[in-house]
């Protein structure tokens, strides 16, 4: 571990933890919602996953993540949806609520018939989750997000995919959940959410305290890897010189 690497901020650790979601993905679209996942996707593309496709978050495919005017293709909304249906995509979405099987809610809080707080609506979460790999980004790990039961299943979790039958389960596969405290995944016998690593300086006890259900915890919890010096350079000098990442993750 170099001295530069230990100087990484929490937001920078999160960017790298998000980037790791796309490791080994090959030639698929890395789609994102939120600043830190967008930086992570670009970082992965510039380093260990060079075949990834990226968009300008509208209708263009970027040939060069460092140059938004250099495009390599056209991906308007409807073609984006068919690409997702073909499975050539790994999206990192946000989540207002998540449960232990990875059921996700971005629709509303409270009873669906008359919500206490209306949010976005299901958007593409139902089809994303049954068509291609999905990960989640949670910038503030809390018991409000990690709940026993989500109020509406927008994104489909492992239990619900299995229950709905082969057509729903066939291409379903949640990968990881990155938060400001930890990386979580579903690498357990019953696809229950597991603590995969805690970020440098974070206690396991804090993660458990801020999770509203019983997380699976391995005997030895690894520490999320530190960014390399080159990754830090790319984040700080190339991808996010203005520090937008720090507005999403508190220091």
């Amino acid at each position: 571990m170099t001295t530069t690497a230990t100087a990484a901020t929490r937001a920078e650790v999160c960017v790298v933890a998000c980037a790791e979601a796309w490791r080994g993905d090959g030639e698929v679209l890395a789609a994102t919602a939120g600043t830190v996942p967008a930086l992570g996707a670009r970082l992965a593309r510039l380093t260990f996953s060079p075949a990834l496709l990226l968009t300008d978050s509208e209708a263009m495919l970027l040939a060069d993540p460092e140059d938004p005017t250099h495009i390599e293709g056209w991906l308007p909304y409807r073609k984006h949806l068919s690409l997702a249906a073909r499975g050539r995509r790994h999206m990192m979405m946000g989540a207002s609520q998540l449960d232990r099987y990875g059921n996700q809610n971005i629709s509303c809080i409270g009873p669906w018939e008359r919500p206490a707080r209306q949010l976005l609506g299901a958007r593409g979460a139902p089809s994303n989750t049954v068509n291609h790999p999905v990960s989640y980004w949670v910038p503030r790990h809390s018991t409000r997000v990690f709940v026993e039961r989500v109020d509406m299943v927008s994104g489909v979790g492992f239990d619900r995919a299995a229950e709905a039958g082969p057509a729903a389960a066939r291409f379903h596969g949640l990968r990881r959940v990155v938060t400001d405290l930890a990386v979580l995944d579903f690498a357990t016998a019953e696809n229950r959410m597991r603590l995969a690593s805690v970020h440098p300086g974070v206690d396991v006890a804090l993660v458990l305290e801020r999770t509203g259900f019983a997380l699976q915890v391995p005997d030895e919890v690894p520490t999320t890897r530190e960014p390399s010096a080159e990754e830090l350079r790319l984040i700080r000098e190339v991808l996010d010189p203005r520090g937008a990442r720090d507005r999403e993750v508190r220091a």
Binding site: P76, Y77, A84, A85, W112, G124, P126, V130, S154, G165
Partner: protein
Amino acid sequence: MTVGIGGWGSRRKPMALVRALLRTDVKDLTVISCGGPDVGLLAAAGRIGRLVAPFVTLDSVPLEPHFRAAREAGAFAFEEWDESMFLWGLTAAAHRLPFMPVRGGLGSDVPRHNPRLRTVTSPYEDGEELLAAPALRMDVALVHVNRADVRGNGQFRGPDPFFDDLFTEAAERTYLSCEQLVERFEGPPQSLLVQRQNVTGVLYTPGGAHFTSCAPDYGRDEAFQRAYVRAAQDPQAWRAFEERFLAGDEDDYRRAVDALAEETGSQRKDTSQ
């Protein structure tokens, strides 16, 4: 009456036509939309009986305030669709089919909250049981494009056609508004999105997508959108907003928008010709 509204979120919405709708006394509308401030304005005026949408957003402001308030007050019936279901529902209507099969929606709570949704089983070896997205037929579609001719051909010049051609094909009647009326189209033939056989009426409405974006003619009026969101937080502020911007005709609206831009010193470009 069922009204489909083109555009997406706070992008290329036929806002002049929505404002025109607000000047009539139509109500109890079923609205089909990739929702933005079109849904917000109609909801604020109490005109929506049922909404069919996969989301409602202002893009740069994630949550649409009037939609939120209306949902939290239980003001209308809501059919919450998945985005791909929505695409296939429009496609089914455009093809005069009763439904299209789709994977998206399976396993989620979308079918639980929408009891009219049914599944369909593949007759082939795979035997997959998929959702049947019902055809999203509509009486009227409202669509805004960059250029049109008087016969009803329409051209988009921005990066994304959204679902606007599908809306015109899924509707009994379509009203097409445009930034510019032209005698000859220029640019690639692929940009000729809307065909006259699917259009009932053409309206020349420069700035007709305001305050949503209409690339490349103009971007979103972010300052105005912020003023809209602020006003929506409080009934009294909203009444003042309506009085200032929505009480007159479209010319009054344009004048009031320009006056606000001058007050706030915003850099909004007037691109009407």
